[in-house]
Amino acid sequence: MRTTIVICIVLSACFPVGPSIESSPLSHSPRGAEGWIQVRKAPRTDIELLMLTDSSYVVQTTDGRIAEARFSDVSNIKLKDAGFLQGGAPKPEQYQFIRLRARFPYGISDDVRAKLLQKAGQTEIVQLRPQS
């Protein structure tokens, strides 16, 4: 029945709605997905996703700080067009889905890391830790 529905939609020359490829930030913005992250017992922080490591999200907060939140410390994360994720390590398919929406989906070198920190006025990446 699902196939029937898809064929029907195609045949009936449907009027398209929702985000188009032209309007999607992925088509014209170099930045990563925007959203918010929440580590345990801490308020939400609005962020741009910079990259994923094996164990953490690296983000830029809206006040310009480069920060890292370990998967194990994150209680919730929500990214535009990527939905809502509960804390802990993302499942492999989720990890891949999120990674491709980061500003640096293929990771960064030490040089790039240094440039980002310099621009943010930091010497180290800020750790987003759970609050007690």
Partner: protein
Amino acid sequence: MRIGAFRKVIATALVLCSFASMSSCLRARKVEVDSATLVDGRAFTTPVRVHLNDGGVIIFQKGARVTADSIVGTEGRAYSATMESLPDTRGARLADVLGVEVVTEGTNVGTTVAYTVLTTPLAVVGVAALAVAIFGSCPTIYTDSAGTPVLEAESFSYSITPLLAKRDVDRLRAQPNDQGVVRLEIRNEALETHYIDQLQLLEVAHGATETVYPAAYGQPIAFANTARPYRATDRAGRDVTPFIAHADDAAFATADATLTSASDSDATDWIDIVLPRPAGDSLALALRMRSSLLTTMLFYDYMLHRPGAAAIDWLGHDMQRIATVAQFGRWSGANLALRIQVLRNGKYERVARLADFGPIAYRHVAVMIPAARDDSVRIRLDFTADQWRIDQVVVADGRRVAAKTIAPHRVVTGADEERADMANHLAKADQRHVMTTPGQRIFAEFMTTSSSQPRTYLLAAEGYYTEWIRGSWLKTPSDTVAFDPKRVRIGALLQEWHAARADMEARFFATKVPVI
């Protein structure tokens, strides 16, 4: 959610309707991104993001082509790792490329089905009455009382997009059956798709004389030694004490004089309440209230009908953006919330702001308030005129109480099919939703613990819903741009509401979608 029989009906109707009504078929797009393998001669016709070793990125919006040693395209917008814009480029050497992503457009099949069915002639689906359905906006929660469904609550009324998904807590009258099970029926009785992320029963043990309400903030509140108002007066000078003294559904509504004189600069109504002060040190203010249909009119007419097709992009795209949602949240908080103020040292001090109530079921909520030394407590509730139906306000000795959370141990569909996967999905607030479409229902069962101590049960629900855009709305737009809170003239809105109120209230509950 796969509720077999109903989906088949919907899908079959779609096949018929799509051909019968091509002009009203809508395709929901989704934008996808994937890594690309770079092979000599490969051409991409959609936007390409080229990530460089130095952290920079080049975006070829019109696509790109791979050669033996480079990737090339036209109008490549280049950016440094720190997001400075660089001169446009025509390509990059493959040796400098870390990876390439290709952006493509697909069809969101599930959403397309919803859009299409709602814009096709509803008579084909066999529910002609739905054409005038205005009942909404959220899942409705029922319990069974000797064979009669009793409306207990409505959940996440405010959550009209995923970014507004939030946890709602409602008080239930339900008690466990002989087997210790609390069984709730969760219905979709509106032209909406509901995405339910989590359902939790909160079990609160309390004293024999105490009543438990969800708190506006934090843990539930148990209260006793309840005192009813001495006197309550609204802005129009009416004695409204009888409306708010008892939980009897004869609720306070704004006086016509206040509503008709509301303007853009002064649209507020208030109730000043004087209550006897209970003896204890910790005071709780407990309220039973619901939203009026003013919010429903605002949602259906201002946000969805007037903008026509722009409303679809507003819901499906704009309201997926943090900035838009934040602006919307600020506006609705300022205009649709009820503020509770307590008189202290001759001045009213705000102690709480209540929002996110639905128009269908009365919700109970309690707030701890500062205890003055006077023998009376003076409260002011202020709000946009006629936004609320306030049925009871009392003050009492209150205390915070702990709640035990219970996940559903069993979920059954309306077709009596047990669904362990749904019980699993509803156990946690994660990305796994149970989706229901109009007319569907599920039954969630919770196993409680036996005890001789009195227990009150609360339902915590998290999720969101998407409204089905009516075909008639698309055909008769009166605006060309999407809803923008900054353009709302609250005085004009209230005058329109005054004119429409009686008809809307008469039709609202009569247009529920029957469940199967």
